[in-house]
């Protein structure tokens, strides 16, 4: 179907057209082309420029690096030292939640690894499902029952208190129920805590939980205050861990150094936030 003549003609026409187009382009795009040319030279010059300038900057940086400590180290050291001295309590309160979080995660991980290695060992040693099941149940009996219990009796937070450690003075609270005087509860809790800690641990350990009937008070300690969480229902290890995470996050975000200034504003803020973070919440669902 191809006609050679037609094709040649076509080719010729095409190349003519192209030439024409090229001319047209160079006329229309002359300015654009010039711009591109200019930019190219700028980039080129800059490159040249930076080749010349960089070593000088580098030298300055190096000199600053070596000389800065000599000139300013003492001054900086003194400022930092003074700052830490002035606010050691603040610093402690600020870093404590972070440390707590880190240590907790580390321990949790170690336990997880231990459990996995035990699991593996059991699998390797025994073959019958029944035997494994039995041993697993014994080894992790607490966990299994925790799961069963938590499904029946989900822990719900009813009251939360932020309490100054030594004085037992209330620094904020929230409650789903109207109970007896919260200042008094804070004081009594502190007394009970001090009593138990003095009596059994020589003051080195902190009381972490008070349990009675179907109620529990979970205590999370910080350097100079603690948070008491009252709840109904039983709490599993996972839920305890969830709660701790939430408490550390709360402490990190909502409790600052104004806490011990005993201002009404701080009391109000802490109380409002406690309500939002915890009250009426199912611990299982805390994130």
């Amino acid at each position: 179907m191809t006609n050679p003549i037609m094709t040649e003609q076509n080719n010729k026409t095409q190349s003519d057209e192209e030439l024409l187009m090229e001319k047209l382009r160079s006329i229309l795009l002359k300015e654009e082309r010039q711009k591109v040319q200019r930019l190219e030279t700028i980039v080129e010059t800059k490159k040249n420029l930076s080749e010349k300038v960089d070593p000088i900057i580098e030298e300055h940086i190096q000199r600053l690096k070596t000389e800065f400590p000599d000139h300013y180290k003492q001054v900086v050291d003194r400022i930092v030292e003074q700052k830490i001295k002035d606010s050691s309590e603040e610093i402690l309160n600020t870093i404590y939640p972070v440390f707590g979080q880190m240590i907790k995660k580390y321990i949790a991980l170690q336990f997880q690894l231990l459990r996995e290695s035990i699991d593996q060992q059991i699998k390797n040693t025994f073959s019958t499902k029944g035997v494994i099941g039995n041993i697993k149940a014994r080894l992790f009996g607490i966990k299994t029952s925790d799961v069963i219990i938590s499904n029946i009796n989900k822990p719900i937070i009813s009251e939360v208190f932020v309490i100054e450690r030594d004085s037992g003075l209330l620094k904020g609270s929230a409650s789903a129920v109207s109970t007896i005087d919260q200042d008094v509860v804070a004081g009594m809790l502190t007394a009970i805590k001090a009593f138990v800690e003095d009596a059994f641990d020589g003051g080195q350990q902190n009381l972490g939980m008070i349990e009675y009937d179907t109620h529990r008070i979970f205590l999370q300690n910080f350097p100079n205050y603690y948070i008491a969480v009252a709840m109904s229902g039983s709490i599993s290890t996972t839920e305890k861990s969830n709660l701790t995470d939430r408490l550390l996050a709360f402490a990190d975000k909502e409790i600052n150094n104004t806490l011990f200034a005993s201002s009404e504003e701080s009391f109000k803020h802490i109380s409002e936030q406690l309500e939002i973070y915890f009250i009426g919440k199912e611990i299982q669902l805390l994130t």
Partner: protein, 161 residues
Amino acid sequence: MISKKVILTGSFGVGKTSLFNQFIYSKFSDRYLTTIGVKVNKKTLEIGGKELSMLLWDIAGEVAQDKVPTSYFLGASGVIYVCDLTRPSTYKNLDKDIEYLKGIINGGIIKIVANKSDLVSAEDIERIKSEIPLPIDTITSAKTGDNVNDLFHALGAELID
């Protein structure tokens, strides 16, 4: 609202709990006192237009102050040390006890109270005062209520200063 922790202390039977109960209608049973050695209660006072919430810790009496767990005293802004006008043994170690307390509560206010004034004559009181190694701040009777309110209000006024 300002909150302050105040501790009642002194030998067994001098009348600490009676002073506490005279001052505050107590909602809690004294059961706590014997079980954990302390009972906390609150009284809100109005002093010079300011509200003060006084958290009072009633400590189960011990013969010597250093037998009471130190942690009970920590963070206290005030201490009421009570002795019994009818029993010299309750005030013979007063100076030593006060010295000890000052060491723990650093900077807090300490009030020395001689209780059971209804049981002794005015002359006896004068004589006892001269026997006690430190000046007494208030002489009270938890039974008749004499000076009890004054005691707490005077302390309250100093606390909010």
